[in-house]
Amino acid sequence: MNEATLTHAHVGVEPAESPLTPESWGKLGMWIFLAGDAMSFGTLLAGYGAIRAGSADWPVPSQVLGIQLTALMTFLLICSSVTMVKALSASKRGDRKAFTKFILMTIAGGTLFLGMQAYEWTHLIYGKHVTFTSNPYGAWLFGTTFFAITGFHGAHVTGGVLYLSVVLLLGLIAGKFSQKNFPNIVEIAALYWHFVDLVWILVFTFVYLI
């Protein structure tokens, strides 16, 4: 095989453009990560359903857990999803001021959500004596599954708040805002944030309402 043949035989070289997400490979990577992460949440929720359906003394969640506070937390995450899409739109327009405002609002929404979750957990543990291993309302696994699922989601929100903070710093301090691919970076982060919102919608229904 001569040199010319070798030059044209780019076997194994990845194409410059992702086949599913022409904008970037990063976006495809995030989608695949989210599919895997969704499996984690799905397995937790399926396991929760199995334990609950097999238990004869499962407490009525809405009577133990505060629905009003959680509905507010749900609304808060939905609002933060709106501010996130607004931040993405602003980054596409090149509107630095609007981008900063909306991404800060999203970070604030996530932080407030975490604060409310900390309040909820504190109230449950010290006020109602629901812990990871026991509770006075019925099946002990009620507390175990509740803290495992909401804790796993809370860890994702924490990760999201940190992720968005890094994107904000990249844009404003590292000077990447004016770069051509910055909206792409924001879009990938936004996908993660919306996923966190989407999962909470399901957690709210399965763990609190049903």
Binding site: E17, L20, T21, P22, E23, L28, W31, I32, L34, A35, G36, A38, M39, G42, T43, L45, A46, G49, A50, I51, A53, G54, S55, A56, D57, W58, S62, I67, A71, T74, F75, I78, C79, S81, V82, M84, V85, K86, S89, G138, A139, W140, L141, A190, L191, H194, F195, D197, L198, I201, L202, F204, T205, F206, L209, I210
Partner: protein, 108 residues
């Protein structure tokens, strides 16, 4: 290459999500069977999740294969629920330690 598409009406989606959340809170107090309430709640949650995925995550404007990748976990986890069903129905047990029984008088 940019994935150029018309920006969806984000606020309309937001209002729908708000309305569906209120509907969820109303449904749990309806004087109907728990099974129907559960089915309605799952339907409402899936509607809300679809709105977020389609419009906020822009799945509606992406290639179909990406949509299939996104749907895969939902399908597999639904199958997981069905595969767990035999375990669920086999044993209906208490997942809490039984209360200590009173000691009979003759053993005191």
């Amino acid at each position: 290459m940019e994935n150029v598409h018309k920006e969806p009406n984000y606020m309309a989606v937001f209002y729908w999500l708000g309305v569906l959340t209120i509907a969820e809170l109303v449904v749990i107090y309806l004087p109907i069977s728990k099974l129907v309430i559960g089915a309605l709640l799952i339907l409402l949650a899936l509607s809300k999740a679809s709105l977020v995925a389609l419009y906020y995550m822009h799945l509606k404007f992406e290639k179909r294969t990406l949509g299939i990748i996104a749907l895969t976990p939902l399908i597999i986890c639904s199958l997981l629920v069905f595969s767990l069903l035999p375990d669920l129905t086999a044993v209906h047990h208490r997942t809490r330690a039984a209360a200590p029984q009173a000691v009979p008088a003759e053993h005191k």
